[in-house]
Each structure stands twice: as structure tokens, then as C-alpha cells.
């Protein structure tokens, strides 16, 4: 199997790994870096957003990339959100507003909304809902997620 050697920083930790060229980034994160907070919900379509991570600070779907494309880049996953054991305001708001039920979609939503709030620190509810389009949630009906993002925005401002 054809392989390539890549260097990727994930949550500040450097991984130098030889991987099959076709290995998807999401599998690299889950299998090689053993960071299983990043989830998979699609076959090939890249619609659900459960696999969302940040590359160089931008939310992207890690199922729509091969790991080799991330060579030389910095990745942040949900495991990297809490700093020094301290939950981020967004994470805390998700707990306080009951913004998750099964929690399968949650890591992807956190990684998307974390960047979203940096870009738009004072969003309207419509903007939050629009920002969430790339993350499907089957459990919550989204209302509590919107509440949580609004709370985090307020606390962070």
C-alpha cells in the first residue's frame, strides 16, 4: 500500500506518522492520534458535521480530506478545547443549557461554534442557526444549542 509520511500537530502535540495516502484525516485523528472525540456520521457525502475539527483555526470536515492534506498544519479537536482542565465557556454553556443529548454531534458543533464565535462575537439567533447548518443534530431540536451558543457569546464578550 502506498504510504506517505506526514507531520501534523494536533492539540499542540506533534505527530509524525507514515500513513496510507488514502487514509482520511478523520481516521488519522481517531486511529493514529487515538482522539476519538471526533465522530463520523456520513459515508461519503460530508453533510453531518460530526467530524468537524479546526485546521489552523478554521472549522472543516475531517472526513472530506486525506490526512496528507493536513501535513504541516495545526489541528484542534474537541479534546483540545478545554485548557488546563478548565472547560471553555462554550463547553460550559453546552452543559448548563442542556445543549446535548446523545452527544454524538456535540464535538463537531463545538469546533464549528468555537470558530464562529471568534468571527462573530455578538451573533443573533438567526446567525447562530445559520452558522449551525453544517452540523446535524438528531436529538435536541437545536433550541438548546442556540441557547448555549448565545450564553457563551455573552460570557466571552
Amino acid at each position: 500500500m502506498s504510504t506517505t509520511t506526514i507531520t501534523v500537530t494536533i492539540n499542540g502535540e506533534v505527530f509524525e506518522e507514515t500513513v496510507p495516502v488514502r487514509m482520511l484525516l478523520v481516521d488519522f485523528i481517531r486511529e493514529r492520534a487515538a482522539l476519538t472525540g471526533t465522530h463520523i456520521g456520513c459515508t461519503y457525502e460530508g453533510v453531518c458535521g460530526a467530524c468537524t475539527v479546526q485546521i489552523d483555526g478554521e472549522a472543516v470536515k475531517s472526513c472530506l480530506m486525506v490526512a496528507a492534506q493536513a501535513d504541516g498544519h495545526e489541528i484542534t479537536t474537541v479534546e483540545g478545547l478545554a485548557q488546563g482542565g478548565e472547560l471553555s465557556p462554550l463547553q460550559r454553556a453546552f452543559n448548563e443549557q442542556h445543549a446535548l443529548q446523545c452527544g454524538y454531534c456535540t464535538p463537531g458543533i463545538l469546533m464549528n461554534m468555537d470558530e464562529f464565535l471568534r468571527e462573530n462575537p455578538d451573533p443573533t439567533d438567526d446567525e447562530i442557526r445559520h452558522g449551525l447548518v453544517g452540523n446535524l443534530c438528531r436529538c435536541t431540536g437545536y433550541a438548546h444549542i442556540v441557547d448555549a451558543v448565545r450564553q457563551a457569546a455573552k460570557e466571552t464578550r
Binding site: P20, V21, R22, L24, T52, M65, A68, H130, V133
Partner: protein, 292 residues
């Protein structure tokens, strides 16, 4: 699911290196990957089985938006997110932002590129009709370093078809500066928010004293590929910004002449209705933008 085996991944730094990598493989065996937001779907579904992925992320000079006196020049690797937030894209170019702001979702906009959208030319894609509506010109560079420039409507064919030769790379998209006061707009409708559209309509027009002097109307979401409506363009000329009936009559001509198809999301009549209703809305917006 998982891509079929891939032999090689390369990340060239120049257009020449990218084309050289392409040349090392038989036709179709090496593919460019821009944002990967369409290509990787196809690769994972094993509809495309590349032996080599040529990643364009590091190619010098393919990204960015230049706004100058003779128009706007956009690198093909410019991502939707960058277009969406570029406040210089007003008036004649505003449709670009309309489209980019509503492509897919935040994550897709963070990676997907205008060049990828044009070169893939998916049936429901937003950029192809927008580029046609804006009269964009596409610069292609060949392996020998030669370039040619094509009007977007000559480049874009039926779904998944373009005039790109196998040994070419798209290197720039330019939108010529408008002569007078000009405005454009794009809007789409899909079943769920920001989804790949059932119909998307781009209208670009020039106006003098609130009256249309020339117009381009392009529609996407069609089985035959993005299509201009000559009848609507003609009918719009001479229509006043506030003339709702005149605008409606022009868009009815578009709906009349454009062939629409039926699929899971809408039948052909409803597509025609969308051409009328979206078309009227974007025309009004384009007028407003032309007025400044």
C-alpha cells in the same frame, strides 16, 4: 466510505509543477484537489479513483481577490469564506458574495473554492451560473505555460462538463468592470437551508436613471447545465427598477424558454416557478445595488 487505493500525494508549489505532476500520469489518473468538497465525495464513493492527488493548496499565486479599475481578478483557490466576507465585492460583483455566503455550510465555505466549483460544475452548483451571469472570464494555463481565456459560458457545459483540457489548470477568474452603474444578485432555493439548490438565479444588470440598459440572466440547477435566458435579458432592457410587472414579465420569458427537469425535489413546473420568483427577487436586488 473509503477511497480506493491512491499511489501518490503531491503538493506542488508552482503552476508548472502542478501541471508537470499531471503530465506524469495517464489521463484521469491524476487529479487536482482544491478544497476537496466535491472531489473527496466522489473519491470516497469511489466514483473517482485517482492514482495521484495533486493538492493545489501551496501553489503560489492561485489565491486571493484583486479589485482594480478594469475589474476583479479572483484566484481559483480563493475559498468561499474569503469571497463571502470581502466587502469590496459590491455592485456588479455583489452576486458573488450572495452565492458564496450561502454555499453549503460554514465548514464547506472554509475549504471549498470558486475554482473547484467551476471546474467540477455540479448540476446544482452556485458558482457556475453566477460566473455566467457576471460575464466572468476564465484563464486556463496549459502544461507548456501557454494560457487561454474563455468566457464562463463557453467554459461551462452540461453538468460535470467543462471546456478544460486535460492538461490545463484554471489560474484566474476575472470579472470585467461594469461601464455605468451596475448591480447583480444571486439567490437559490433548496429544500433545506443553504443546500445544493433546486434552482439558483443570477441577474446582473446595468442601469441608467433606474432603467435597465443591459442585463444578463443565468439559471443553475438544470439538467442541461447553467443556462442564460436571452429572452429575459432582452425583455429587461428598458424596464424601470420599480416596474414589478415588467420584471415579472421578463422572468416569465426565462421560465418559458428554459427547459427544466423533474427530480426528487421538484418537478419541472415548480422549477419554472422558482425561476420566476427567485428571478424577480434578484432582479429587484440587482436594481437596488445598481442604484448604489
Amino acid at each position: 466510505m473509503y477511497p480506493a487505493p491512491i499511489d501518490e500525494y503531491v503538493r506542488p508549489a508552482t503552476v508548472a509543477d502542478a501541471l508537470a505532476a499531471l503530465g506524469r500520469y495517464d489521463e484521469g489518473d491524476a487529479v487536482f484537489v482544491a478544497g476537496g468538497q466535491s472531489l473527496m465525495q466522489a473519491v470516497k464513493a469511489r466514483l473517482v479513483r485517482p492514482r495521484c492527488l495533486i493538492d493545489l493548496q501551496a501553489v503560489d499565486g492561485l489565491s486571493g481577490i484583486d479589485v482594480g479599475a478594469d475589474g476583479v481578478r479572483i484566484g481559483p483557490m480563493t475559498r468561499y469564506a474569503e469571497i463571502a466576507r470581502d466587502e469590496r465585492l459590491t455592485g456588479a460583483c455583489a452576486a458573488l458574495r450572495d452565492a458564496a455566503q450561502r454555499v453549503g455550510d460554514r465548514q464547506v465555505r472554509n475549504r471549498g473554492t470558486i475554482g473547484g466549483s467551476l471546474c467540477w460544475n455540479y448540476v446544482a452548483a452556485c458558482m457556475p451560473p453566477t460566473a455566467i451571469g457576471l460575464g466572468a472570464e476564465l484563464e486556463l494555463t496549459a502544461a507548456d505555460g501557454g494560457t487561454r481565456t474563455l468566457a464562463a459560458e463557453d467554459f461551462i457545459g452540461g453538468p460535470l462538463e467543462t471546456a478544460r483540457e486535460e492538461n490545463e489548470i484554471l489560474t484566474a477568474i476575472t470579472i470585467p468592470a461594469a461601464k455605468g452603474s451596475a448591480g447583480s444578485a444571486y439567490k437559490k432555493w433548496g429544500l433545506v437551508t443553504d443546500a445544493l439548490p433546486v434552482i439558483g438565479v443570477c441577474v446582473a444588470l446595468e442601469a441608467a436613471d433606474g432603467r435597465c440598459t443591459s442585463a444578463r440572466v443565468a439559471v443553475g440547477g438544470l439538467a442541461n447545465g447553467p443556462t442564460r435566458s436571452g429572452a429575459a435579458e432582452e425583455a429587461l432592457v428598458g424596464v424601470d427598477a420599480g416596474d414589478g410587472d415588467g420584471i415579472a414579465a421578463a422572468l416569465a420569458k426565462a421560465a418559458g424558454e428554459i427547459e427544466t427537469q423533474e427530480d426528487l425535489w421538484a418537478d419541472s413546473d415548480y422549477r419554472k416557478q422558482l425561476i420566476r420568483s427567485l428571478g424577480a427577487e434578484v432582479t429587484a436586488t440587482a436594481f437596488a445595488r445598481a442604484a448604489g
